[in-house]
């Protein structure tokens, strides 16, 4: 591109110089010598621009931070972070693991729903992005997810529940932020379980979106 501009300028300059000397082009205005713009294109310039390859459309999945990272990690502490059979009876703040209240988080693409149940499957509290004052497209933001988590956590703290386990379902903007919100409110999260449905055998999914 730079070369093309240079050639154009030079051409115009030459014409002006020639016309001032000989007067041949005196009637002509400032029109330059015809330079083929294709010829002026330098291959090197074109290469420098680079070929823009539109790769396969990669769907970004929200709430999957950490996936696809190939860096080496310290795996020595990995075993301590994964549950074993004894974990179910392990005491967390004086309560056995399988008797802790369970926070169900449904992180869909458009909303985040939180339901807290005790170990007898009775609902302690439930909330959602809409109930926290987010309407329509605002529901599908990470901030809405975090606010919902904080609100649920505050209600839990008010009821004297400070230790919970969490089960998340679905990949959505509220997946990680909602759990973060729980901790912000002062609730201790003991474990995070993923329970996203993986429907490999159908029903047949919807057709591809055309945007």
């Amino acid at each position: 591109m730079s070369l093309r501009r240079l050639v154009g300028d030079l051409g115009r300059l030459c014409v002006q110089a020639a016309s001032s000397q000989t007067g041949i082009f005196s009637s002509a205005s400032t029109r330059g010598i015809h330079v083929s713009m294709r010829a002026a294109d330098s291959i090197r310039d074109a290469h420098r621009q680079g070929t823009r390859i539109a790769g396969a459309q990669v769907e970004t999945m929200e709430g999957t931070t950490g996936a696809g990272v190939q860096t080496a990690v310290n795996s020595s502490s990995l075993d301590a972070r994964l549950p074993v059979a004894e974990t179910l009876k392990q005491q967390f703040d004086g309560v056995a693991y399988n008797e802790l209240p369970l926070v169900y988080i449904r992180a869909s693409k458009n909303n985040t729903l939180v339901t807290v149940m005790d170990n007898k499957n009775e609902v302690i509290t439930s909330t959602s992005c809409r109930l926290e004052g987010f309407k329509n497209a605002r529901k599908k933001t990470t901030i809405a997810g975090q606010t919902t988590g904080v609100a649920a956590g505050q209600r839990l703290v008010r009821r004297g529940i400070r230790t919970v386990r969490v089960q998340v379902k679905g990949l959505g903007p509220g997946r990680m932020t909602c759990v973060k919100g729980l901790t912000v409110a002062g609730v201790r999260v003991v474990s995070i379980t993923d329970h996203t449905p993986l429907c490999e055998l159908g029903p047949r999914p919807r057709k591809i979106r055309r945007i």
């Binding site: 999945m61 973060k180 901790t183 201790r188 055998l201």
Partner: protein, 113 residues
């Protein structure tokens, strides 16, 4: 009699264990896909969980079953995967050969000192 059409998923996997309905829910809930949180470090726990789910191919299932892939897309994806695997295998072998360190001669091909 109305014959109901049942969708049989994507291309049949020849070597895998045959899928059944609700396979994702087959194990006890807190036995799999669970990460314990240490010191309330939720981000670290999620990082581990997402990484494990990704390396086990669970996120890929989500990605693949989000929209219906037409048969030509399925075939294309399958052959792409196969050729990538072949390329990666050869490239890994080549890299391992190039960076190997336990050769008897420290500087092969070098005549002096």
């Amino acid at each position: 009699m109305v014959r109901q059409f049942t969708w049989r998923g994507t291309i049949a996997q020849p070597f895998a264990i045959k899928l059944f309905k609700g396979v994702w829910n087959a194990h006890p809930r807190f036995a799999t896909r669970t990460v314990l949180v240490q010191n309330n470090d939720v981000d670290g726990a999620f990082g581990l969980l997402n990484r494990l789910m990704d390396s086990e191919g669970l996120l890929k299932i989500v990605r693949r079953t989000q929209f219906y892939q037409k048969p030509y897309m399925q075939r294309k994806a399958l052959s792409m995967e196969a050729s990538t695997a072949i390329f990666n295998e050869d490239m890994n072998r080549k890299m391992r050969f190039l960076v190997r360190k336990n050769r008897p001669d420290k500087h092969p091909g070098q005549v002096t000192s």
